[in-house]
Subunit: 247 residues, 2 copies
């Protein structure tokens, strides 16, 4: 199967190298959709690695949906065209997401202040009633056109230092990562359809009574602590959400 050799003295672990190699083979069409790849024992021998190591590589591709294990038959290349990328893309910030689509992101800050949390926000953030929270409300734009109206709340105590930054210029997640060493690790989103009220419609430069997507989101860090609750209203004519699922 070509001249692939794992490098023992590379920064990347062997099984990752193998996973990458196989991923490339599949992408390049060397291994066709539906084809059975060589048995694990054979591959591990030809690559001079233990079968466990090879299996770790295959496990990775199976989790990605590129390969499917079939007991007593072999491991076949899945013909799925769509992979897990969406799951990862889910954590792109608005800015990154727009850039990825070739649009220029910008923001207009409508509110950036600390305030007393209402009971719902406090509960979601796991704070006591009466706690201070940061309210950050922004119109998110792409190429100067309003795309979404985003209102997010963060615990004031933990992130008060953030108030010295310009959230019109910089991505919230970038600041959280750089200044606080925190990055979103999991989130829960609920999506519903709404009719726009006057104020929100005006901020988005559309008519009241138009349809819009409202996404509520609770974001957590690596330790599972809630770092942010957010409610974003997306213009229905500009936005469509895409999800991939696999079992």
């Amino acid at each position: 199967m070509s001249t692939f050799r794992v490098s023992r003295r590379a920064s990347e672990p062997v099984f990752k190298q193998i996973a990458g190699h196989l991923r490339g083979q599949i992408a390049a069409g060397q291994m066709r959709y539906g084809e059975v790849i060589p048995p694990e024992r054979e591959l591990s021998e030809s690559m001079h690695v233990s079968r466990m190591t090879l299996r770790a590589a295959i496990d990775e591709l199976v989790r990605e949906g590129l390969l499917v294990r079939q007991r007593r038959r072999g491991t076949v290349v899945s013909s799925m065209r769509v992979r897990k990328s969406a799951t990862i893309a889910g954590f792109l910030s608005f800015s990154d997401e727009m850039r990825q689509r070739g649009l220029i992101p910008s923001s207009r800050v409508l509110a950036f202040r600390d305030e007393i949390a209402d009971s719902s926000i406090a509960a979601q953030l796991g704070l006591p009633i009466g706690a201070h929270v940061i309210d950050l409300t922004r119109v998110r734009m792409a190429n100067g056109e309003p795309m979404a109206l985003e209102r997010c709340h963060l615990p004031y105590e933990r992130f008060s230092r953030i108030m010295q930054f310009d959230l019109g210029k910089e991505s919230l997640y970038d600041i959280l990562a750089r200044e606080f060493g925190t990055r979103p690790s999991a989130c829960e989103e609920t999506i519903e359809a709404i009719l726009l009220e006057r104020a929100d419609a005006e901020a988005l430069c559309v008519r009241a009574g138009d349809a819009a997507l409202m996404v509520r989101r609770v974001t957590r860090d690596e330790r599972g602590t809630v770092i942010e609750v957010e409610r974003t209203i997306f213009r229905a004519d500009r936005y469509r959400m895409v999800f991939f699922r696999q079992r």
Copy 2:
């Protein structure tokens, strides 16, 4: 750590037993959120299994989001309350989903016939232009109340036999599984907000001009072949979609 013993002669693999045990410990609060669990070497010794086996169990819980590995520190119990279940739930049929919420699902079939695919449907199903497809349009109800209007297309050639069943009574996915040995394995969904037109609004018993969620879905089987394309309109006042994401 209690009297847990793995059983060597059980149908369940050892690492699954351990994963289940740990899951139970966490659920029961024996291991608290944020706590560091004993090191792998210690656990594997006390459970009389190899470290690799123990790691397989921990890997499973990490993938579920119950545990988080922290290099050089240990493995801690995540305080995530929400786990991967949603990803699986994504494949519940409408019927199962309603039942899970304690509602009684039913359907009213508005159309069930074969027809010539339009170019968009044909392309999505991977069929040539002019191919026959099955059009199944149903109002999906819960406790007799319309919840969604679903229109789905399946390739006629593969599934023509389905036309002898009563889709008002039985779940599409149940029939696909039982009669064709096929089950959805992956899907891609796009979600957008729309304003209801008169006809759709009437079918859903709401007013034209109300907001609704429109979900387009392409479903694939294990081999990645498209088995169904579907467009469902959900009443905004009855439906809200929930997603969980983790990196």
